[in-house]
Symmetry: C2
Subunit: 657 residues, 2 copies
């Protein structure tokens, strides 16, 4: 089969593969035929009306199929999923097939109107919406149960028949994108629109935030330099720096909301109607009726879930936090023991031993984070949430609370129990720098190197000369199918969250943190881009209008950092010296300043509106138009009905005369 990179409308016979469907080797013939029939079937018969072809040259251990669709089918899918596109007049409107000619970049000969990511998303979403009609089991696999309304693809996935479903990379596009993204070593903004087109809004928003955050750190970094260089330790200068930082971080987060609204408006996700959320794949329970949809679906009583959350998960999280604190205490004991030992013995060994507790502690923290992450995922999935969003929120809360404690507990202990600012600065620097280097290495460089080696092996096996750049489709699929799957932006946001903590929680003690963060983030842009383009399977694009619950996490971190910074200033020896005779006054002053800063923060957050006024106007215009259209329609109907009524009256009057 020849790969055809252009899609011509209406012609069902030029087939462009968009999505790969990989079935298990032992899948029954009957199952495959049934699945193909359902995928190709007409919509009103419960099909998806896509095209599906087997891969000519089969891959070992699985059966690979390629799914594509006609241009017309894709446009109809775009309408059904509520895609928002730029209209002739520059406004963003929900796409409708009937008025397709009225959209700005629409052309029937050119498939750029829907990006490849969008086309792949349409296929994924509509495949997931293929539902069992009368089938009670999967044909050919009687042990795999179905019920009317159950998503076929999801059942095939959970039963292991469908191994994976992933979108294909587009070699030429990817090359172009990676060149302008990270290929040139030149200071420039990221090509956000291109990233959005290739990877979807969700991932593009992450990179937009990474870039925005880095730029926003600049003023903090610049102001931090003189503090570091001249070792300014006056109390008034510290207060100025901390106050600036706190207000700055509030403004930064608020302005991000505006920038985010601007981006997601231009990408069409701000006004895109939310889809009706289906139960997540892992959700199980007694078969019942969904009160909203009236469809059969598993139901699970809320009180049982609440019991699992409050009686098992919450105690587990608390216990984990307690373990964290215990480990931390052990670390401080070890640290003390090592320093006493060193003082007593003063040998080369004992000096080396001084580093042992820190290294051990960092390693243990990392291991605990990973173990806990698995436990949290297991527990959250065991809590049996009906919706993916609810699952995600519970997982994020669990992981964030633990990560926060694990990473920052020792710093809090040093700052507020030991009250040793010098040690705090050392530890902060050590943690920040090692975590950044570790992350860059574990997250991007190591996988990149592994992937490169694997590619080389596969290519050698396929006996492809590395000179020939454009791979044949079969080989491309063999390569991509083996790549790791990108698990979403969770870890990337988590990393930024931790960094935000290091920068803001103790900003007045270590002004250099912002500079280190800026440097790291510049590198992060490159390594993350490399990771997206070279290491992972292409991910399905996901429409997103904002950062979701991460925004809240960053805001809460901002509030906590107001408290820590105020407390730190109060604890600093210079300030303590000023209030020598009256400690109470000092504490009250610090608490007072903290409350004022918090109030200022909330007022600022309230006063800066989340949507820029020009986008607000555009949204208002759309709203007004839809109301007016409805009124016009009603007025017409009303006038018609009144005319009829008056005729009747007229006749009645005539008769009565």
């Amino acid at each position: 089969m020849k790969r055809n990179s252009s899609i011509s409308e209406d012609n069902e016979f030029t087939f462009t593969p968009l999505v790969v469907l990989e079935l298990a080797k032992d899948t029954h013939r009957e199952t495959i035929e049934w699945l193909i029939q359902r995928i190709e079937g007409r919509k009103h018969l419960g099909g998806a009306h896509f095209n599906i072809r087997p891969l000519d040259d089969q891959v070992e251990n699985s059966k690979v199929y390629l799914v594509g669709a006609s241009w017309r089918r894709l446009l109809l899918g775009a309408e059904a999923l509520g895609f928002v596109k730029e209209y002739q007049d520059g406004s963003m409107r929900a796409f409708t097939y009937q008025n397709k000619e009225d959209y700005k970049y629409f052309s029937d000969d050119d498939n750029d109107f829907l990006t490849m990511a969008e086309r792949q998303f349409i296929i994924k979403r509509e495949l997931e919406n293929l539902r069992a009609v009368n089938e009670t089991t999967v044909p050919g696999h009687p042990q795999v149960k179905l019920y009317p309304g159950k998503s076929i693809i999801r059942r095939l996935q959970t039963s292991g028949i469908l191994i994976q479903l992933y979108p294909l990379h587009d070699g030429a596009e990817l090359k172009k994108l990676s060149f302008i993204w990270y290929g040139r070593l030149k200071l420039a903004f990221q090509p956000l629109d291109d990233i959005q087109k290739y990877f979807g809004q969700n991932i593009a928003l992450y990179f937009a935030f990474l870039e925005y955050f880095t730029i926003a750190l600049f003023p903090m970094a610049v102001i931090g330099v003189p503090y570091y260089l001249f070792a300014w330790e006056d109390y008034d200068k510290y207060i100025v720096f901390a106050t600036f930082n706190l207000l700055w971080s509030t403004i930064v987060l608020e302005v991000w909301k505006r920038w985010c609204a601007k981006l997601s408006y231009s990408w069409g996700t701000l006004t895109m109607k939310r889809e009706f959320e289906e139960p997540r794949p892992g959700f199980h329970g007694k078969l019942g009726l969904n009160p909203a949809t009236g469809r059969k679906e598993p139901t699970y009583p809320t009180y049982k879930r609440q019991m699992r959350i409050y009686l098992i998960s919450m105690p587990f999280v608390c216990l984990s936090l307690y373990t964290c604190l215990c480990v931390m205490m052990v670390y401080f004991r070890l640290e003390k023991w090592a320093s006493t030992y060193n003082e007593e013995v003063q040998s080369a060994f004992s000096t080396a031993l001084l580093f042992f507790p820190s290294v051990l502690y960092v390693v243990v923290i990392e291991i605990m984070n990973r173990i806990y992450r698995y436990a949290a995922e297991y527990l959250t999935s065991w809590e049996n949430h009906r919706l993916e969003s609810s699952y995600q929120n519970h997982l994020i809360v669990k992981v964030l609370v633990f990560n926060f404690t694990n990473c920052f507990a020792s710093l809090f202990y040093i700052a507020f129990v030991l009250q040793d600012m010098k040690l705090l600065r050392q530890n902060l620097a050590a943690l920040l720098i090692t975590s950044q280097i570790l992350n860059q290495f574990v997250e991007s460089l190591l996988p990149y190197w592994l992937q490169k080696r694997r590619n080389r092996k596969v290519k050698q096996k396929l006996r492809i000369s590395s000179v020939k750049k454009e791979l044949p489709l079969t080989d491309q699929i063999k390569l991509e199918g083996d790549m790791d799957t990108y698990l979403g932006t969770f870890d990337d946001y988590l990393e930024l969250f931790q960094q935000f903590g290091y920068v803001s929680l103790f900003s007045c003690v270590y002004p250099l943190a912002a500079i280190l963060a800026v440097l790291n983030n510049v590198a992060e842009v490159y390594s993350d881009a490399l990771k997206m383009c070279r290491v992972f399977k292409r991910p399905f694009s996901e429409p997103a209008a904002d950062m979701g619950v991460w925004m809240l996490a960053f805001e809460i971190m901002g509030v906590i950092s107001v408290m820590t910074n105020c407390a730190l200033i109060g604890l600093s020896p210079q300030v303590k010296g000023l209030f020598q005779e009256n400690n109470i006054e000092l504490v009250l002053l610090v608490v007072g300043i903290e409350h004022i800063l918090l109030a200022l923060k909330f007022i600022l957050a309230f006063a800066i509106s989340d949507i820029p006024s020009d986008i607000h106007n555009k949204l208002a215009r759309l709203e007004f138009e839809s109301i007016e259209a409805l009124k016009q329609k009603q007025m017409k109907e009303a006038d018609e009905s009144l005319a009829k009524e008056q005729e009747q009256e007229h006749e009645e009057k005539k008769r009565s005369r």
Copy 2:
């Protein structure tokens, strides 16, 4: 003209007056004819298609007209304004004239489907939406300018031609309502649904909140009793009481949101689509184009408004607050002077003089509140806000900040500067009791008595025997036209807000406050009901789904009360005694507890969802149905278009063979 209390559909000749339109005596004949023509004109000609009749027996000093509408016209208006009504299946759906028969209580012979308040609201809203088409001045009054798109009624109002526009009372209904509401002296819940039907959702929600708040105060009142009786002053008991109060007030506010959602769902306002907000009547500026509607309307640059707010209004508010504090300081000086004088002289006069400063201060506070209120209204209207909602929010913020300072500053001073808990308790009790009595008197009883006297005079003048209960329409209008206008729920909510402050800010010092508040609120229900039914002109109903910005005000008061209560406990002599040797620890402990309580408060507010799950399900069902309906429509269109396409292909293939 005989008043006809039943409306028969389609018959334009039985006229039921709903709304009264009172024009100035000197209104030009031409103006009246033009106005009548516009009100009666067909919709597509820019008219409102209502019926309007002059009052036969004219009232002195004005020309009175009565506006009504046919049943069909009212139903069409209900659809245009997006009224939500109960459907056959028990769900709440936007009313459509076409499917009118499918709504639960619909009957063409019975006008109960639309309450009288709803019918009057339709007339008011559609009259306000009468817009100038080509007129540049009001015919007959060339000095009154118009421009295309300007609301005619609003211009007539601002130019003084239209004196007032108000809905008529319905004697029989009002009698029924007032009997079940406050006529029987019996402990029962208020007839909220009936209040909603007669006065609209806005006012019904206020009474619902008043009732809910009173019931919610019960547990606090009950727990407060033993503290008062046994004079418990142990520090642990106080902490228990304060903690209970703080968490209780959080839960109360969160549960109110759920109860409010339940009410507004059943009243149809929760799912009612917001109307497009028009500029408020007083808004002026250069004529320009509205970016959203494309209509001509006055425009006023935002920066000018911001300058007025930040350069004039804000300094004025700050100055007023400063004046407040100065007056308070004068009061404390006077108080001190009086007590020294009394100690020195010890005569009857000097003892009487002891009360003089408090009485003077209360009177001055009251006077300042009133003067400031006028100033705030003047300033906010001078700020020239485009939208009524924005005007209201700025006014509420101004008034709340000042009222809060004025009412509570002296208490804060006593609590935290003088640290005299006994004096605090005395002053709190005095302020709470006098303000409640004053409010009851000034707000309801005095106006009621005045109104009764006025009624008697008017009736005497009209020589109506007071035995005959049902007044003729002309006399009714003469009576109602003279009644005061109800200015909205602002003052009522403000009163509750102050009360909430007295109860919660210093709850651990004066546990009896809750009991007094409960007693006051029970009386308040009766006096407010009396006020609504007997003292004021009937107000136009106003759709509302919640308390709006007042909710935020109550929540902020809750946060402040956490701080004050923690501080009070820290200041109490018992607690101070415990930490005799180490004051710092005490302060840190108090601050720690405060932060934990605040965190708990936010977590609670976050964990309790604002909408009960059954209403959530109903909303989800509606959303799902509308999405499905859209999809069905699209699928049909898609299948049709695909069928056509395949035919074409088939033909092409045939041809190519």
